[in-house]
Amino acid sequence: MSDSKALDISNLHAGYGETEILKGINLSVKSSEIVAIIGPNGAGKSTVVKSVLGLLNVISGNISLNGENIVGIAPDKAIKLGISYVPQTHNIFPNLTITENLEMGAWTRTTGISERIDEMFELFPDLKVKRNKVAGSLSGGQRQMVAMAKALMVDSKIMLLDEPTAGLSPKFQAEIFRTIKRINKNGVPILLVEQNAKQALETADKGYVLVDGSNKVEGTGKDLINDRNVARMFLGSKD
């Protein structure tokens, strides 16, 4: 069971309205894995995440969560099924306190909310001290923690992270990647979209390189780091 496919995407074509951005994506996340999607701007990295969540038009293809087809699902239903989604920007409610942010993440839950909040404060001890502060007053790194904790308030079957380290200082970036590993150790499979390719691949068990709406290269994180083409394209290597 531990290595069944949590998320399986096959031959996915999707886009905004009639514009096709994803042209046949194949990707899977096993239930113990961290999977990273890297690629240049405009390759459709975020589009993959958004189509899983039902935020845009899936033209054809399959998306299944633990074997259940979820193509065309409404976003609130997707959240209820246990998809923890952290958008790239505007991912917290700035005028709500940290605790209130977590409560909003638990909107679709009916039981065990306060227990889950306690679990989140164990996972993110920094947030516990500031629980009654409004989230808008926190630093960028801490906001990202709030966003992740808020997303994890559902019974997470998978976590989707859209560029979690964008705009953060290197110190916070490292902290975020450590947190991602910690969340994964707690049993949550993770699909991560990243610009920060090197660190993402170091963290991930598996990586996909997306170019122009389809996957060009895939492999374990280590393999991709050592792949000369990938290195030249994304990791700033000169040779």
Binding site: P75, D76, I79, P87, N91, F93, L96, M104
Partner: protein
């Protein structure tokens, strides 16, 4: 000192200013909530205040004529609140919701049309002329008068003003509880903060929209009835005349800040009344005819120097 300065200032300017401020505050709460949660300026808000007052008056008349039971306006307002909230929700479902995914200006125009429809409806049903809401002269509360006179600071405050100020305070406390302690209230603040994130957090936005009309409708009827109690009469333009100062109050407090709207309402109400006080010499500072200009001036100054309002509201 009291005789020459305080008596006139407190009784004829300060208390009426506070009362007017309470009415603006209640109306501005609905405006600021709709503006921040549904993202449009609801021009029909004043008309819901007005029709709420007409419903209340009708309930008072019916109760008196059919059962011989005279009702206090605040009791008769209960069915009016239900009708007004129902009206808001129906209007939203059939006139605003179809435009919601399009540009905001269409919803604003729809609300402008709704304003004219509601006012014409009231004119057709109740007639275009003024109606007496509560007859007679409002006498000052004897207890307060005697108590304050005994310490040489006589305050003349009619019961109707008591009800208005106390009622506003109670509604404020209830609203504060709703917004900070209940799931639905926190959800309203969340949608106001970021509707996109609310959607991808699994928050049921439709429920939040209904709750917004519920709270907005309740406060609007309260404001309309308080206004009718204060003026002791009803007319079909009473809501429309409140619209500008209520918008000014919402902007002054910061869009999306219900408590900002309350402060904004009180400031505008007091500023309007105190602007005609004879601060210098014997004549009023500005001619009473320009009173309504005060709200407009405050709104324009605020939009120029600090468009986010006193409490850092949303910018559009």
């Amino acid at each position: 000192m009291w005789e020459t300065f305080g008596f006139e200032f407190v009784n004829f300017y300060l208390i009426p200013g506070l009362v007017l401020g309470c009415i603006y505050a209640l109306g501005a709460i609905g405006i600021t909530l709709t503006f921040s949660i549904l993202r449009f300026a609801n021009f029909a808000h004043g008309e819901v205040m007005m029709i709420g007052a007409y419903f209340t008056w009708t309930a008072m008349i019916l109760s008196n004529d059919l059962f011989g039971v005279p009702l206090h306006p605040l009791v008769a307002a209960a069915p009016a609140v239900i009708l007004a909230i129902g009206l808001f929700i129906l209007v939203d479902r059939y006139f605003y919701k179809p435009f919601r995914s399009a540009s905001t200006i269409r919803v604003v125009m729809a609300s402008f049309g709704m304003m004219l429809i509601i006012r014409s409806f009231v004119q057709a049903v109740w007639g275009p002329n003024q109606l007496t809401f509560v007859p007679g002269i409002a006498k000052p509360n004897e207890m307060v008068k005697n108590l304050t006179a005994s310490i040489d600071m006589m305050i003349l405050v009619p019961n109707k003003h008591f009800w208005i100020i106390a009622g506003t305070l109670i509604i404020m406390l209830a609203l504060s509880w709703l917004l900070t302690k209940t799931k639905i209230g926190k959800g309203m603040r969340a949608v106001s903060d970021s509707p996109e994130l609310a959607k991808v957090s699994g928050i049921d936005v439709e429920i939040i929209v209904k709750a917004t009309w519920f709270v907005g409708g309740f406060c609007a009827v309260a404001a309309g009835v308080f206004l009718a109690m204060d003026l002791q009469m009803l007319e079909t333009t009473m809501g429309f005349r409140m619209l500008l100062p209520m918008f000014a109050a919402a902007i002054l407090g910061g869009i999306g800040r219900p408590f900002g709207a309350v402060i904004g309402g009180l400031v505008i109400g007091l500023a309007e009344e105190l602007s005609v006080y004879p601060w210098f010499g014997n004549g009023s500072l500005i001619s009473p005819g320009y009173k309504t200009g005060v709200a407009f001036t405050i709104m324009v100054i605020m939009l120029v120097i600090r468009p986010s309002g006193l409490f850092k509201g949303r910018l559009f």
